[in-house]
């Protein structure tokens, strides 16, 4: 900790206690800004929708807050008895990303099920339509579907 420092308690993702004005700080802030702006861009382009847009937006803000106000990380780390503080970042980052990956897998499973059901329904309806057409022009040639 550096109490009484003139420099705002700012740092980057990889905290360097010995050197608060380390250029890494700007790298951290820059990276957070890039992530945040990328998410905004993806949402604007409609390539990221719904709750995942919000999730990554908030994550981007979180990165930014941690990069600018790194004392937060120190406070959390010392409260949990984790040292060095960057370990806390990795720890929670890993938990967060694992949770997101599991959630996405669950969603993919559900969507696979839905796609399967849709494809089956399509196959069934198409066959019924073909059967109806064949019945319709009984005398004529068998209509070939698809």
């Amino acid at each position: 900790m550096m109490p009484g420092s003139i420099i705002p308690p700012a740092l980057m993702l990889l905290y360097d206690e010995a050197d608060a004005v380390s250029p890494y700080r700007f790298v951290g802030i820059g990276l957070a800004a890039v992530i945040f702006l990328s998410v905004i861009w993806l949402i604007k382009k409609r390539r990221l929708r719904g709750e995942f847009g919000w999730l990554w937006l908030i994550t981007g803000v979180g990165y930014f807050v941690l990069a600018v106000w790194n004392e937060l990380l120190e406070i959390v780390a010392s409260a949990l008895g984790i040292s060095p503080p960057s370990t806390a970042l990795f720890f929670f980052g890993l938990i967060f990303l694992t949770a997101v990956a599991v959630e996405l897998s669950v969603r993919i499973s559900k969507q696979s099920e839905q796609i399967k059901n849709l494809a089956q329904q399509l196959a069934i309806l198409e066959a019924e339509r073909t059967a109806a057409e064949v019945k319709g022009d009984e005398g004529g040639g068998v209509s070939e579907a698809g």
């Binding site: 399967k116 494809a119 196959a123 069934i124 066959a127 019924e128 059967a131 070939e144 698809g146």
Partner: protein, 272 residues
């Protein structure tokens, strides 16, 4: 609901890229069971499977993309339920199964003696000679073990748990169309689940041939080991799973009954 009540028998043939064999298979099925409707489920083939099946006289259900053997079967089940068939048989499209054996696997289900009848390549019956079915040693051993496990768990002698040559009562089709049921290849775990749900299972001996062009869904040097491990796990899961009760339905009425299958079709189409 466009349920048409056939009350009859449908033969389901899942097919993927089987343009060479499908015409002959459909024709042989139609000759073997003249009263049955033949449905080919084309699992997203890019070749002439669908048109050749149609030309041979089958109804064709076409998946817009390849979804796998198990899903193709389930599409057939959904069709059968929707159209109100009382019994469905399933046969592979590659010429592995002998259509002439269809009546023998259908009979016990049509008569209402059992709900599931499997054609076994290892069971000699009615003078049929069990053919020398060639398979790798690992896979053979796996089938033996899982057959034994399935026999123990179901209290029925199961010699060929992976047989895709089956006849099923409409109640079984309904069970398999439930989204809670993970759908996959026919195998020991499925039989155990069916038994635990209260369905009656029987095996009859049939002839089975090698895949004509040497392809197999279980081929490859690593797959047998993979199969043994996954099936072991699947059986464990099947035994651990909470019992899913078979769909409630009125008792089998006399032959030619109408209400039962169309009820099933309606239930299938209703939103859950």
């Amino acid at each position: 609901m466009t349920a048409v009540d056939h009350g009859g028998v449908v033969v389901l043939i899942p097919a993927y890229a089987e343009e060479a064999a499908i015409g002959r298979v459909v024709t042989s099925v139609r000759e073997a069971v003249p009263g049955a409707d033949v449905v080919v489920i084309d699992d997203g083939s890019l070749d002439e499977t669908a048109s050749r099946a149609r030309a041979a006289g089958a109804t064709v259900l076409r998946h817009p993309m390849n979804l796998g053997y198990g899903v193709a079967l389930q599409t057939g089940y959904k069709w059968a339920l929707r159209r109100g068939y009382a019994v469905a048989a399933q046969q592979d499209a590659d010429g592995q199964h002998e259509a002439e054996d269809l009546p023998r696997i259908l009979a016990p289900v049509v008569r209402g003696e059992v709900d599931v009848c499997l054609g076994s390549r290892f069971l000699a019956e009615d003078g049929a000679t069990p053919p020398a079915y060639r398979a790798g040693i690992v896979r053979r051993l796996g089938m033996r073990i899982f057959g034994a496990v399935a026999s123990l768990a179901t209290g029925t002698r199961i010699t060929d748990p992976t047989s895709g040559f089956q006849a099923l009562d409409a109640s079984v089709l309904e069970f398999f169309c439930d989204d809670r049921y993970p759908f996959d290849y026919p195998d020991a775990d499925q039989l155990i689940t069916l038994h635990r749900a209260g369905f009656r299972i029987r095996e009859v001996g049939v002839r089975m041939y090698e895949n004509e062009d040497g392809r197999s869904m279980h081929g490859g040097p690593i797959k047998p080991f993979y199969y043994v491990i996954t099936m072991g796990l699947a059986i464990l899961v099947a035994l651990l799973h909470e019992r899913v009760p078979r769909p409630a339905r009125p008792a089998k009425a006399a032959a030619g009954e109408g209400a039962r299958p169309s009820e099933a079709a309606t239930a299938e189409g209703a939103p859950r």
